[in-house]
Symmetry: C2
Subunit: 456 residues, 2 copies
Amino acid sequence: MSQPSIPKGTRDFSPAEMAKRNYIFDTVREVYELYGFRQIETPAMENLSTLTGKYGEEGDKLLFKILNSGDYLKDIAGEELLEKNSNRLAAKLSEKGLRYDLTVPFARYVVMHRNEITFPFRRYQIQPVWRADRPQKGRYREFFQCDADIVGSDSLINEVELIQIADEVFSRLGIRVGIKLNNRKILSGIAEIIGEPDKITDITVAMDKLDKIGTEKVNEELASKGISRKAIDQLQPLILLQGSNEEKLDTLKTTLKDSETGTKGIEELGFILDKLKIAGIRSELELDLTLARGLNYYTGAIIEVKALDVQIGSITGGGRYDNLTGIFGMAGVSGVGISFGADRIFDVLNQLDLYPENSSRNTRVLFVNFGEKEEAYILPVIAGMRRANISTEIYPEPAKMKKQMAYADFNKIPYVAIVGENEMNGNKITLKNMATGEQNLLSFNDCVSTITSMSD
Amino acid sequence: MSQPSIPKGTRDFSPAEMAKRNYIFDTVREVYELYGFRQIETPAMENLSTLTGKYGEEGDKLLFKILNSGDYLKDIAGEELLEKNSNRLAAKLSEKGLRYDLTVPFARYVVMHRNEITFPFRRYQIQPVWRADRPQKGRYREFFQCDADIVGSDSLINEVELIQIADEVFSRLGIRVGIKLNNRKILSGIAEIIGEPDKITDITVAMDKLDKIGTEKVNEELASKGISRKAIDQLQPLILLQGSNEEKLDTLKTTLKDSETGTKGIEELGFILDKLKIAGIRSELELDLTLARGLNYYTGAIIEVKALDVQIGSITGGGRYDNLTGIFGMAGVSGVGISFGADRIFDVLNQLDLYPENSSRNTRVLFVNFGEKEEAYILPVIAGMRRANISTEIYPEPAKMKKQMAYADFNKIPYVAIVGENEMNGNKITLKNMATGEQNLLSFNDCVSTITSMSD
């Protein structure tokens, strides 16, 4: 039989990897809950009618579709089969697909459960999603998203809190980050005043290259995209925008004074920056006009978090979107959300070696097994250890001492307890510290306190 | 647009349901870790070559298959399509399927990672599985399994520990349970001495009806299954088996004395019962010869847990299986495992009303929003609350007081903090206890200690 394998783009997670992943998920979860977000879960499978058409044509192709059960070919006409139109036939072969993100299922959840929830609704969700993307380094076909959203509230306090959450999560993880902010309304304002409403993407892409290629080349690129000389001139203060966030906002106020939408965006950004200053925040905040992620999606604030000490893309992003549930026929529900990229955060923590040394969930003490007599003696001792909330193992066989020690070593168990003839007679335990090699003959209670004091 | 829906047999979990589910999962996880089990996760999708043929013909039909991506029809001959053999064509349309249980993926994991793990390997895994079963009350197409297994050790201490784990989990959950034990070797021994090796299932099924239909009818049923008069006579002491576990073992020893396998099974069961007595266990243990779950699968101990105060099937089960990894070409790895049925435990806790009143993960205090001035004042106060690890929300809009209170009520937030003109001037917070209606004007520190003392 050939070696078994797993589908490309998917992964197994070993105990060591799970400890690291749980450290990230637990941190995000704890902060979400500290801010009053409530967890929901949705099924891995959604009806394809829920998913299709929500992620663009490219996204539709990346949906994993579930083959219908039973005699799924029965009602398909022979000629249709012979056409071999894989795309069209998929709709007949498959009714369900795997979740592509957490946002569309959440919108579907809100619409389906509208009578059971009260707005504003603060929900978080940490679940895997699946995309039939071409697998490559750092891109997987199954990966976790960690989303928090508030729906049914227009208040900018929500944006403020989501940014505080990002700040708190990375502070707890020990990752230095910069948080970039922008506002879709400001970008719309820019397009409005230069009279090029369709060119926002071209403009932000070109402006983003300033540091690399200089003003001259940026202007050339803008011209090459069909933007008029006059518009490019108007854009100059924004291309060269520098200084503190306050200074940038002042420049924007002047430049965009004739755009109502742009002025609204500046006010919103000003409010958010102001309230973050009052609430207190550790990370650096930067108004970045070139930040345009998910442009067709966001309608207000745009948020992106980057690690300062590792070269990697954005590790968290989010923003304000209007009409989340409109796709399912429920209008007027505004939302704002944030999403942590667990896989990239995993890589950052690895690169910076920031994982805590000891996972508190790991076994703390292994009892050596010398045979049936000692086994019978130590079983109640082990039960006592566990009652003291110490994660304890007994080696299941009376194997050679060397093998049992190697097991403790391999599994990074910090203490080994040895109970042989002497210890049984004296009602004691020999406790070996695996890091230092130190051995002590201790009472049960001293054993417990030694192990406990080390774990905390 | 029509109302969105989810696939039949799948579920959304609301925040209230998630709190209950997490309570179960956290309890199981904590006990698994207390016993030194290490978590792994495997991908939702496995290659169909890994899954197919492992669950019998019926199981193969219940696998959810993933439609291949891209132009999946291209290489299928027209005539093959026209045959419309849904079963055979599935193998060409689909290479991947959704995980059906956690055992086969675990076996695949052990074989693939044999060089990275050290035996005995104690792993636990809490993940959803999918089965295209006909949905019905209490049976879902997506549900969670919570498995712990030890592989690479023949020691019966593993069985002892798994039973201790079941005892501990249900003790923590407050569910009174009875734990039934049997051993496949005893059943084989019975079949051996009466010379009917193929009739074990018929025998256990008939014996199981003793309480309902009486000895006479049980014997009639045995005869109707083609079991000889002589064999039925030999079975009488086992059909009428009563008394303590020790008494039952004594009867078995006599009845099965001529079967080597049966005698081995009695020894194993005796060892397990003996060691459990030494280690200490709260639940009632019952040797039950009619327990034969997964007969073709288990080779030694068979374990089943039933709730004593609710009429429901088994809520946990497990046992010893040999050669887990043999299906993937790695021989000689014995294993023993246990699996908690989260959905049934959920129902039992609901029926007995055993969920803890307050989920500690819920928001503890809501700050009322009176408008921009008060908002600016309370933002640092709220940051302080969160630094004190109190889950805190601010109502995002200055809505009517009644609406904000209703929000706290709906979300079961135990305290509401009110900071208006008076409080700002006096540097105080009015804290309202939502259960009692009591209101007190408190300093920040007194606020923190009131809320904290209530949560613990």
